[in-house]
Each structure stands twice: as C-alpha cells, then as structure tokens.
C-alpha cells in the first residue's frame, strides 16, 4: 500500500472508553419478561378488524354495481349495449342513449385538465423552488383553500362573474382569432362546454398543485445538487432534477384531478347549458352524465326513463374505471424500468 511509502504514520485505533456493563443473567432465568404468545390475541383482533374493513369496502362496491345493473335492466333490454353510443335522448318517445353525456363528461374533463395542469404545475414549481420564504406558507394555504370551497359556490360565481366575462370578452376574442379551428364558432352564449371546462379547471388546480408540490418537495436535495454541479441553470435544474424525478407522482395528481372533474355535478350543471347535443364548437351547450342524473331524476316519470338514468350512472362508473385503468397504464409506462422507490 502507498501508506508504507510514507514511513510509519502514527495512526492508532480508537481507545475503548469504558467497559460495557455486565447484564445480570439471573432475572432472565427466573421470570421471562416477555411471555410467548401474549401478542397473538390482540394481533388477531386487529387483523380481523382491518380485514373486515377491507371486505366492507369491496362489498360496498359490489352492492353498488349490482344495484346499477339490476335497476337499469329495463333500459338494457330496450337498447342493448348500443345504449352507450346512441345520441338520442327523447323522454317523450322513450328513446334513450348516453353518448351525448359521455361525450360531454369526457370533453369538459379533458378541457379542464388541459387548462389546469400547466397552471397547477407552474404554481407548484413557484411555491417549492422560487417563492420567497415569507410568501410560501400563505400561498400554499390559499391554493389549498380553493379545494375547500363548495362546488355550488363555484357555480354561482361562474354564472354571475365568469359567464358574462366569457360572453362579452373571451369568446368573441377566441372566435375572431381561433375561429378557424372550428372549436370556437357560433354564438358566444357564455354558457356552454367552455365555461364548464374552465370552472372544472379552477376546481382541479388545487388538487393537482398540492400533490405536485408534495412530490416535488420529496425529491431529495442531492438530485438538485447533482444537476446544479453539472452546470445547469435554474430552469434546467428544475426540469431535469425535480420535475423529471417527480413525474410519476405528478401524473398521480393529475389522475386524482381527473377523477374530481369526471364526477363533478353542481358547478358543471349550472354553466354547461344542459342540452344533450354534440357539437364541435366549445361555445355550444352540452350535458354531462352526472348532471343529467341530478337534473332529471326527480322528473323521470316512466320506468324506462328511470332505468335509462340509472344506466347513465353505470356508464359514468365504467368511464371512470376505464380512465383510471388507462391512467395506471400511463404511470406504469413512465415508471417502467425504475426501482419501486427511487431515493438515490
């Protein structure tokens, strides 16, 4: 070793400081402190308790699905699986199809994500990486507070403030400059798919941004330093060292936000226009699955009508499941090849 070449370095090992205390062994022989088997009974009770909680949840889902299926049998017999893709919704002639509602739910939710995700990630990046310390707490708290506002309040605000703004300024502007896309044409009513998407986006931002903030905070400081030490600028550091590491978690937050958007009823009903139509333009009114159930349940006079509404509920359930499966696949494809917990 090289160290021999240096002569004899005066290195000595650590000196023992005190003798370890000798444990008396007599007590252990006479009365063992821990009796074998003692922990079995409480463990068994605990195990049973949590097991029954788990079974309860499964049972609950089972009952809900069973109810949805049996209560929609009438409509199922009348229209078959085509129910989900029919565009007619004519209670007078008892012709029912769920497609306009499926379409409305998907389009308004996706529109909400398109608007909300960049904003939410931007907010999270600002709060975790750039915000002066004195502003951090209050900004984080305010964003989270947005999630606690009841959706009917959002609906009211949308009707009295947002919709007039859309009608007077935003929609005419969009029609003039982006009308050629076909997405922004027709009469700017204010109320319609665009309004629903925007109000959903506002409701989704706090969810996505608080989760994004959590996962960004959880990215180890060493990752940031690794990128900085390579000569990265601040933005490169955030992109490579933070967002890239947090992307699976951010996707998880987006999925939760999407879940909220798919099921949101009140605020959407108040601004979407409630017309079972499919139009390319986002200015046109639409309808969602949750809204039609809430609005028409009390006036569903015939059995087939009622049964069709329950089947719309079944459709909402299925769409939610499918979207969640797709989202899981997306997360899986992003994290593929990575160790389960990347903490390096």
């Amino acid at each position: 070793m090289a160290n021999q070449a240096l002569g004899a370095p005066r290195l000595t090992g650590p000196q023992p400081v005190a003798k370890p205390e000798v444990v008396s062994s007599s007590r252990a022989e006479t009365a063992p402190l821990i009796k074998a088997g003692d922990s079995r009974i409480p463990d068994g009770i605990f195990h049973g308790a949590v097991l029954s909680c788990g079974v309860c949840v499964l049972g609950l889902v089972g009952v809900i699905v069973y109810q949805l299926v049996t209560k929609s049998a009438l409509s199922w017999h009348a229209f078959g699986w085509k129910f989900f893709f029919r565009s007619e919704w004519d209670p007078v002639n008892e012709q029912f199809g769920a497609w306009p509602f499926v379409y409305g739910t998907l389009v308004s939710s996706l529109l909400a994500l398109v608007l909300a995700v960049p904003l939410a990630v931007g907010v999270a990046v600002f709060i975790t990486e750039m915000c002066p310390r004195w502003l951090k707490g209050s900004l984080a708290f305010t964003t989270e507070l947005l999630a606690a506002i009841p959706s009917v309040i959002y609906g009211l605000w949308a009707i009295f403030v947002m919709v007039p703004l859309l009608r007077e300024y935003v929609e005419p502007f969009l029609a003039r400059y982006l009308g050629w896309t076909g997405l922004f044409e027709g009469t700017p009513y204010g109320i319609g798919m665009l309004a629903a998407g925007i109000i959903l986006a506002i409701m989704v931002v706090p969810i996505v941004s608080s989760i994004t903030r959590e996962v960004m905070t959880a990215v180890p400081q060493q990752q940031r330093e690794a990128v900085l030490a390579l000569g990265a600028t601040r933005w490169e550091m955030i992109r490579t060292g933070v967002l890239r590491n947090a992307r699976a978690g951010i996707l998880g937050g987006v999925i939760l936000g999407l879940g909220r958007a798919l099921g949101e009823t009140m605020a959407v009903t108040m601004v979407i226009g409630n017309r079972p139509e499919i139009a390319r333009s986002l200015f046109a009114p639409g309808y969602t699955m949750a809204s039609v159930i809430a609005n028409e349940f009390s006036e569903a006079t015939s059995d087939t009508y009622l049964s069709a509404l329950v089947e719309v509920g079944l459709a909402l359930f299925l769409v939610t499941i499918i979207v969640n499966i797709l989202a899981q696949l997306l997360v899986w494809s992003v994290t593929r090849g990575m160790p389960r917990r990347s903490n390096a």
């Binding site: 002569g7 005066r10 060493q222 390579l230 000569g231 490169e236 390096a344």
Partner: protein, 252 residues
C-alpha cells in the same frame, strides 16, 4: 489537463454563522489533494466554495478570491460556467433514477447543448472506462436505470458523469464514506489514475485513505485551515500540535 487552484482569504457564511475563516491555499495541478478534519469543521463548505455550489444554499455567501487556472471563480464569470469546468462527486451517490446509465453519463453534455450522437457514444464509453465501470454495464447501458446499480457502481457512475464534460478539476466530498471496502478500493485506484490528467480535491474522513491517494493534505479545524503540506509531512511530522492530536486519534 488539470489546472491549479489558488485560494486567497476565503470566508464563508451560512446566514450569520461563519463556517470558513480566512482560508488561503494553493492546490497544485494534476495532483490529488486531501482535505481532512473532524465533522463540521468546514471541509464540505470549502470544496463547495471552489465550484460555487455553496451559494446555492439559501442565505449562504462567501468572500475572498479563488483562481482556477486563468479563471477568476468569483469575479466576472457566471457560476454556471464555473461548474461546467469543475466536476463534483458527492458523499451519497446521486445518479438520476429516471435516466438510463447512458443518459446519466451524457446528462452534463446534453445540458451543454451537445447532441451529436456518435460523439456522445464515444464520450460515454470513454468516461465509463475511465471510471472503471464500462465492463460491468456495457450490455445494459440503455436498458437499466442509474439507480439499479449497487452503491459502489452508482458512485463510479457519478464519477463518469462528472468526467464526461472533461472538467479540469474534480471535487470529491467523502466519495467512499458510504461504500464497502472493495468499492472503496476501486475508487481509490481510480483516483490514482485520474490525477495524471485532472486536479483532484478529495474530502475524506479516513486518514489512511488520504495517505494512500493524496500527495498533499490540508487539515481543517473549526473552519480554519490549520496546516497544509505534503501528505507525508502531515502524517509523520506535523508542525502543529492540533494536527498531531487529530491524526493520532486524540480527538475528532
């Protein structure tokens, strides 16, 4: 080729507490220089001042003069530019877990806007060979993530990542403190080879390690540089009583 580092009257603070007091030191080019001292004496702070990583800590600041070859580190050059010319290896291996082994090594070059595939391939291979990792990973370069390697391999991957940008100086902050003896041996061997072409500053807790790899050693205590000399001199006939107490294990 490596360049020398000339540090004059360097002071560093974390908020109001001063972590380094008036450090002046001449780190010679193409040699390994060890920095030793008890925990909390400012070793990490010192090396982090050399590539201006110190100032990335909120409220931290530094004064004094650091010259790296022709370059004035604290005057007239952007921190980003400095860090591109100085490689750094951290105590805890920190490969990018979402990137493949290849992308980990290429990360620094890509940050610099370097995208020529063929040259990238060459540099990645050369860097991994330099860090003695090539044979172990050459078949899974693009398939495996940087975090899937063992601790010692991860640390060598980090060394490869630092070397890929052809730095003039390599700073290593206790690179072996989390590694087993075999990985430690490999990295020490590596340092031995690297110092022919790079200037290396290595912080270490392990005095045998300092004596094995470094020609020069600086002893820090409570934020002050107590003694800086040839490693042999420091470990055999130190001129300061405190250095002697430390290396004979009387404190620290």
């Amino acid at each position: 080729m490596g360049v020398g580092i000339k540090v004059e009257h360097l002071n560093a603070w974390f908020g109001k507490t001063q972590a380094l007091h008036d450090i002046s030191i001449d780190v010679p080019a193409n040699h390994a220089t060890a920095v030793i001292g008890p925990s909390g004496c400012g070793k990490s702070t010192f090396v982090r001042c050399l590539n201006r990583m110190h100032e990335t800590v909120p409220d931290a600041r530094a004064t004094g003069k650091v010259r790296m070859g022709e370059l004035d580190v604290y005057n007239g050059t952007a921190a980003v530019q400095i860090r591109r010319r100085i490689g750094m290896v951290f105590q805890k291996a920190n490969p990018f877990p979402t990137m493949s082994i290849y992308d980990n090594v290429a990360a620094g070059l890509k940050l610099n806007g370097f995208h020529d595939r063929q040259r990238l391939d060459e540099i990645v291979e050369r860097s991994l060979k330099l860090s003695a990792l090539w044979d172990e990973v050459k078949d899974t370069l693009r398939k495996k993530s940087g975090a899937s390697l063992s601790g010692g391999q991860q640390q060598r991957l980090c060394i490869a990542r630092a070397l890929a940008v052809s730095p003039e100086v390599l700073l290593m902050d206790e690179p072996c403190s989390a590694l087993d003896p075999i990985s430690t041996g490999k990295i020490e061997e590596l340092i031995f080879q690297l110092k022919e072409n790079f200037t290396i500053v290595i912080v270490t807790h392990n005095m045998q390690q300092a004596s094995r790899v470094a020609e020069f050693t600086g002893f820090f205590l409570l934020g002050k540089l107590i003694e800086f000399d040839k490693t042999e001199k420091i470990f055999t006939t130190p001129s300061d009583k405190r250095t002697e107490d430390y290396i004979t294990g009387r404190f620290g």
